[in-house]
């Protein structure tokens, strides 16, 4: 079986597929990609099904050597990459030959990026999924993050998958406040504290991983205390432990928790939260459930259109003008978004 050799990589590079669903009632959170859209796009660009297993990396990609001719695609906000030293663009199919080295640099305008390989990563599924669950050591390669020297098996292909580009930009990581629905335990907080939560500009701390992002800001105090009878959690809930520092649960967050949940991030904005790197700011605005629902349906529609825009192309037929017009050379992520 062909493999990809990891020469060196960042601390949070893992194998992820769509995730491990339907097991939250048994204490297993889904894992899967932190940025579902970027993940799915990387797969479609190499001709895979959108849920195929791919590499996810945070902050920094690393170097990968291929032992067979194949095709790869890299997605993520402001990711720089090269093949044997020649600069390449995100969001398109890249042919790579046996022995060549793909070098993926920092994720400049966000946090998470993806590398998909034609055929998909072919590790052994655990509980029906290849997604790495780091906390409990499930899936991926021995349930852990990848390190230099790892050889990751990939499915065989004939080495000539169709070349694709994405004609549509991924949505920008803009700076508007993150929309939330208050609750389910907003009644643990005095209305003044809710007002403080909604007017504070929080800073994403360095304590960020696949489980959670912890925010720094004026502490939030729960009038009724910071312990609830433990109940279920899902990605996007904002827990407030006794430290007063809000903790946003993400893809690998635990399935139950004993802290009051002041609010829940709406589905349409969760991806933006995931892509907000340590040191960047986040603020929140409360919306009605109906507005969140409409936003979710709109986001899904946009998501679908973006994935549909991945189209067949031939290298020779993409002129520079076209590349610029689709913003492929500078990356789809507007360089201005780096300022957030």
């Amino acid at each position: 079986m062909p493999f990809v050799e990891v020469l060196d990589t960042g601390p949070l590079t893992t194998i992820q597929d769509a995730g491990r669903f339907g097991l939250r009632d048994f204490g297993v959170s889904q894992a899967g990609p932190m940025d579902q859209l970027a993940f799915e796009m990387s797969n479609l660009l190499v001709g895979n099904v959108k849920s195929a297993a791919a590499f996810e990396f945070a902050l920094n990609g690393g170097r990968f050597r291929f032992d067979a001719n194949t095709a790869v695609a890299v997605t993520g906000p402001g990711v720089e990459l090269s093949i044997d030293g020649a600069a390449m663009a995100t969001n398109q199919t890249l042919k790579i030959d046996a022995g060549q080295i793909l070098c993926i640099g920092p994720v400049r305008n966000g946090l998470w990026g993806y590398l998909a390989v034609a055929g998909g990563i072919n590790t052994q599924p655990v509980l029906g999924s290849r997604a790495t669950h780091l906390r409990f050591g499930l899936g991926g390669l021995a349930g852990r993050s990848l390190v230099g020297g790892d050889r990751v098996p990939v499915a065989s292909t004939d080495g000539s998958p169709p070349v694709r580009i994405a004609e549509q930009d991924l949505p920008k990581t803009d700076q508007t406040p993150i929309r939330v629905i208050l609750g389910p335990q907003d009644d643990y907080f005095h209305p003044d504290m809710i007002a403080q939560f909604l007017s504070t500009t929080f800073r994403v701390s360095t304590r960020v991983d696949r489980m959670a992002s912890i925010l720094d800001g004026a502490p939030l105090i729960a009038t009724r205390g910071h312990d609830i009878i433990s109940d279920a959690t899902i990605p996007g809930v904002i827990q407030v432990p006794a430290s007063g520092q809000p903790l946003i649960l993400m893809a690998e967050g635990q399935t139950t928790g004993g802290y009051p949940k002041i609010a829940t991030i709406i589905g349409a904005d969760l991806r933006r939260v995931a892509q907000t790197a340590p040191g960047k700011n986040l603020s929140f605005v409360a919306v009605a459930p109906e507005e969140a629902e409409a936003a979710l349906l709109g986001y899904r529609n946009q998501h679908h259109k973006i994935l549909k825009s991945v189209c067949l192309a031939k290298f020779g037929q993409i002129c520079n003008a076209q590349l610029y017009s689709t913003n492929l050379i500078s990356g789809v992520w507007d360089s201005n978004t780096g300022k957030e």
């Binding site: 097991l23 433990s230 996007g236 139950t256």
Partner: protein, 239 residues
């Protein structure tokens, strides 16, 4: 189903159906009954159900059903689901090797509670525990029914690595560690029974509503059961 029920938004894709604000067997029985009812006859757009002590998280897909319609469906169900007669969960007799390296707190706890070691073991193993919920880690179950004498606060600083199978006490609850990891609970025994084994046909043995009894066995018996389990034998069957 009781006047105290509240249906709370947890984002736009889930409702938390909260029946009470207490840990109570009857409340928990109703939660499990509601989950069962919804699972057997799912409303349109239902995605996932996550029961806990006193609430049920109902995850749904707004592309298939609006929040308003789901809320109405849940209110209807609350009217239809009645208090179950008795607990119908399975009963598990789980072998337990008390003390030793894993049950490292047994001596201290017995001393603290002014009990001899055999008295402590007798007390812990003569109770029937009930699984109120599963969460925190794959297959990790929270056990109610710990005799009051044995209630013990968690450690202020968790220990970094408690093995799989460790049997513990955290406050007024009991537990069986389903995976290795850090824990602030106090540990008094271990079981060879793997309650979570991802490679097994049935990866999770225990379910909310099941009951558990601990059966003291010697370290040799425990090791022997471990070996038999490793070779594929089923070492405990529910009643």
């Amino acid at each position: 189903m009781g006047p105290k029920a509240r249906i709370l938004h947890c984002g736009e894709q889930a409702f938390s159906v909260e029946l009470a604000d207490e840990i109570d067997e009857n409340v928990n029985l109703r939660i499990i009954a509601l989950a069962k009812h919804l699972k057997e006859d799912p409303p349109d757009g239902l995605v996932e159900l996550i029961p806990s002590y006193r609430s049920l998280l109902v995850c749904f897909n707004p592309s298939q059903i609006t929040g308003k319609s789901m809320e109405r469906a849940l209110l209807d169900r609350l009217d239809q689901v009645h208090k179950p007669k008795v607990n119908t969960g399975a009963l598990w007799d789980i072998p337990a090797v008390y003390g030793g390296e894993v049950g490292l707190d047994l001596d201290d706890l017995a001393y603290e509670k002014n009990l001899s070691q055999p008295e402590f073991i007798q007390l812990h193993s003569s109770s029937t525990y009930r699984i109120y919920m599963i969460g925190f880690a794959p297959g990790f179950c929270y056990l109610g029914g710990l005799p009051e004498v044995l209630h013990t606060p968690r450690l202020p600083q968790p220990r970094p690595n408690i093995p799989q199978g460790a049997i513990g006490i955290g406050g007024r609850q009991g537990s069986i560690n389903s995976v290795a990891g850090p824990s602030g609970w106090r540990f008094i025994a271990w079981t060879p029974l793997k309650i979570f084994a991802p490679e097994r046909l049935e990866p999770f043995l225990l379910r909310p509503g099941d009951r558990v009894r601990f059966v003291p066995v010697s370290a040799e018996e425990g090791n022997d059961l471990s070996r038999r389990q490793a070779s594929g034998e089923i070492i405990v069957r529910p009643q």
